[in-house]
Amino acid sequence: MSPARDQQSPVAPPSRGGGGMRLRGLIRKEFYQILRDPSSIAIAFLLPIVLLLIFGYGVSLDAEHVPIALVVEQPSADTASFTSGFHRSRYFEPVYLRDLREAEAALLDRRVSAIVHLRADFARRLRQTGGAPVQVIVNGVDANTGQLILGYVQGVWQKWLQRQALDRGDALALPVRLEARVWFNSELRSRNFLVPGLIAIIMTLIGALLTALVMAREWERGTMEALLVTPVTMREVLVGKLVPYFLLGTGGMALSVAMGTWLFGVPLRGSLWVLFAAASLFLLAALGMGLLISTVTKNQFVAGQVAILATFLPAFILSGFIFDIGSMPAVVQGITHVLAARYFVAILQTVFLAGNVWSVVLPNALALAGMAAFFLGVSRRKLRKRLE
């Protein structure tokens, strides 16, 4: 860049070192575009609100008011004392059916989820050695709910045994006095663990889907060619995309955290800054992935589909958001390690419910940082200042 050559011409002092100015220009442009495109706003703010409302109010794994069929072949004082436990439980909504056949039909078309069957000889065998059998049938189609219902029935049965023992003036009959303490979420509210996990899903959407689309759009509309012929460097283009969507994502994060804690009463036991530091790392990884997808595809249609298939569904199922990773087969567990959402979900659930547990936060944060570096690095290498 010899100055002599610049002096050859009376026009155009070429710019030098205007990197800050170029970057600022790119960032400002991106912000204007975000503000004027309702769909970006929809993804960044409307979607989190809708999802949080659905999850906060709508989705729950806690089975309550389970319709259960009570079939009592010969009602007596004993059967009444047994069945009264079901009326008292908040988990059940019992209905009495006359015979087993009717109850089985109800179970088949899912009007009831379980049957408790007391045979005609219940009262008689109660007094005999071996005790009276109580037949319990659950509909096993929804295995998880079936499992929970069996647990609830067991609870009702144990309480009844205790009451009977007390009535007869016996000491407590059961050898083990089980005292269960659930840490971090003593009421076992599923909302408390769904909402933090959901934040990871929302951030995945904002990060990957939005950036995948916006970069591909620049290629499709020809604006990229016009950008490329300016003295802008590819690093500036990359950072110019990262910063606005990073801030947008942080905004979505703040909104989600605020809604989660204030509206849904999810406790935040760790510190906010740990939360946001982890979110920043995760956002970088998600944005990097989105940028990579769009840099490789250069086409909105394909980029959008890849982003949905590669980010949303895996984040939903493989991140530990709902399904326990530890119980998956080893191969699948291996796959989950390439998902940034997995690490973020772990951090979120811990920081919200348990607090700043560094033994959980640090390794996961390290993994997120590694993924962010990987995706951004690869995007940077793939993004060359040529049209080929």
């Binding site: 929809a42 809708v50 659905i54 109010y57 794994l61 806690d62 088949l108 219940f122 005790g131 009276a132 059998p133 037949q135 319990v136 659950v138 509909n139 096993g140 189609v141 929804d142 295995a143 998880n144 929970l148 647990g151 029935v153 067991q154 144990q158 009977q164 000491a171 407590l172 050898p175 083990v176 006095r177 269960a180 303490r181 659930v182 840490w183 979420n185 076992l188 408390n192 663990f193 889907l209 909105q300 249609f301 589909q305 298939l309 590669a310 569904l313 939903f316 709902i322 399904f323 326990d324 530890g326 119980s327 087969p329 699948v332 811990t350 419910l353 348990a354 607090g355 547990v357 033994s359």
Partner: protein, 369 residues
């Protein structure tokens, strides 16, 4: 008319499948996802890491610990010597459960009294915690019964004989895999159709179509058929994998299943085309598809039962075609539900489908720019 529709359908297929990338997107990910999700999406817990803090040297305590260690659900990873060790272990998620047996446990039991046992459960995933507590209760109950019998004490007045119909081992894979058939069919058909009109609008070919003698109904059919065929093809493939790979029993009739599939694909294709004809650009189409897909999946009963939702949310789910299809899938697969019991699930999907297709056809010509 038939020839024109065939021409349209062939054109749609060519436009969709000639591009290698979009071909990949349509076929490869669903299969991969079925395989991965089929294994991943399970509520069953296996080999849960737990720690034992046993202050009692007695034989009863040893027996209780042995019962936990022998269960396929649990896996002992640590033996603790003092209470202070519990917190870091649980915090770091190294164990999900700590079994704490007090020093007097065996003595109390031998004396015919109750011995205290404390279990500490990591509640960060409340569902895992609840299931885990169930497992604990079952093990403890079995221990109680055996102990009482051996001690010759009074047997329990009544005992439970439990059975789970349709899924005797309560495998959640049997619940989830049929759901994935619906999930992936939904995603694929919506994605295929939601962009089809928007893409043509963006490229200007839609105008070209509208000036040909095609009737809106014909265009609609031409647009819907590829979605239909791809949806049917993929669903069939996934059903095969579910039955032969994942060994999920298929107890009902295939006819019932396919009538359900037909109604379901009708409704999703209708929804996709409606979104597509509302959208001006592909990006809008994609976002529309997304805003439809996410609530459809979450509010379908795929992972979380509809019965657990509050009443007003349950009302909303009646608009969700996936809701009905999941009932059909699980009914036919696991319960062998006969056709007549599922009629109530067929017609709402058909109505959703026809209403949306009608709207889409209307919007073809009346959507203003």
């Amino acid at each position: 008319m038939f020839r024109r529709i065939r021409a349209l359908t062939v054109k749609e297929f060519l436009a969709l499948l000639k591009d290698q990338r979009s071909r990949m997107v349509v076929f490869i990910p669903p299969i991969l996802q079925l395989l991965v999700f089929g294994y991943a999406a399970t509520f069953d817990l296996n080999r849960i890491p737990f720690a034992v803090y046993n202050e009692d040297a007695g034989q009863a305590a040893r027996e209780l610990v042995a019962r936990f260690a022998a269960s396929p659900h649990f896996r002992p990873v640590a033996t603790l010597r003092q209470e202070a060790e519990i917190t870091p272990l649980v915090d770091a998620k190294r164990v999900l459960l700590v079994l704490h047996i007090g020093p007097t446990f065996s003595r109390e039991l031998l004396g015919g009294r109750s011995g205290p046992v404390q279990v500490i459960v990591d509640g960060r995933n409340s569902n895992t915690a609840a299931i885990l507590l169930n497992y604990v209760n079952t093990i403890v109950a079995a221990f109680d019964t055996d102990w009482q019998q051996r001690a010759g004490g009074p047997a329990a007045l009544a005992h439970l004989e439990t059975r789970a119909w349709f899924n005797p081992n309560l495998l959640s894979r049997w619940f989830i895999v049929p759901g994935i058939v619906g999930l992936l069919t939904l995603v694929v058909t919506t994605l295929v159709t939601a962009l089809s009109v928007a893409r043509e609008r963006e490229q200007g070919t839609f105008d070209q179509l509208l000036v040909t003698p095609f009737r809106p109904g014909e265009i609609l059919l031409g647009k819907a058929l590829p979605g239909f065929l791809i949806g049917f093809f993929e669903a069939s493939l996934i059903i095969l994998i579910a039955v032969f790979w994942f060994q999920v029993p298929l107890r009902g009739s295939l006819l019932t299943l396919y009538v359900g599939l037909f109604c379901f694909v009708l409704s999703t294709v209708g929804m996709g085309l409606m979104i597509s004809s509302l959208a001006v650009t592909q990006q809008q189409g994609l976002l529309g598809a997304f805003l439809f897909l996410v609530p459809s999946i979450l509010l379908s009963g795929f992972a979380t039962p509809i019965a657990n939702m509050p009443a007003w949310v349950q009302q909303i789910t009646y608009l969700n075609p996936m809701r009905y299809f999941l009932v059909i899938l699980r009914g036919v697969f696991l319960q062998g539900t006969p056709f007549d019991l599922l009629v109530g699930q067929f017609w709402p999907m058909a109505i959703i489908g026809f209403v949306n297709l009608g709207l889409a056809g209307y919007l073809f010509r009346h959507r203003l720019y």
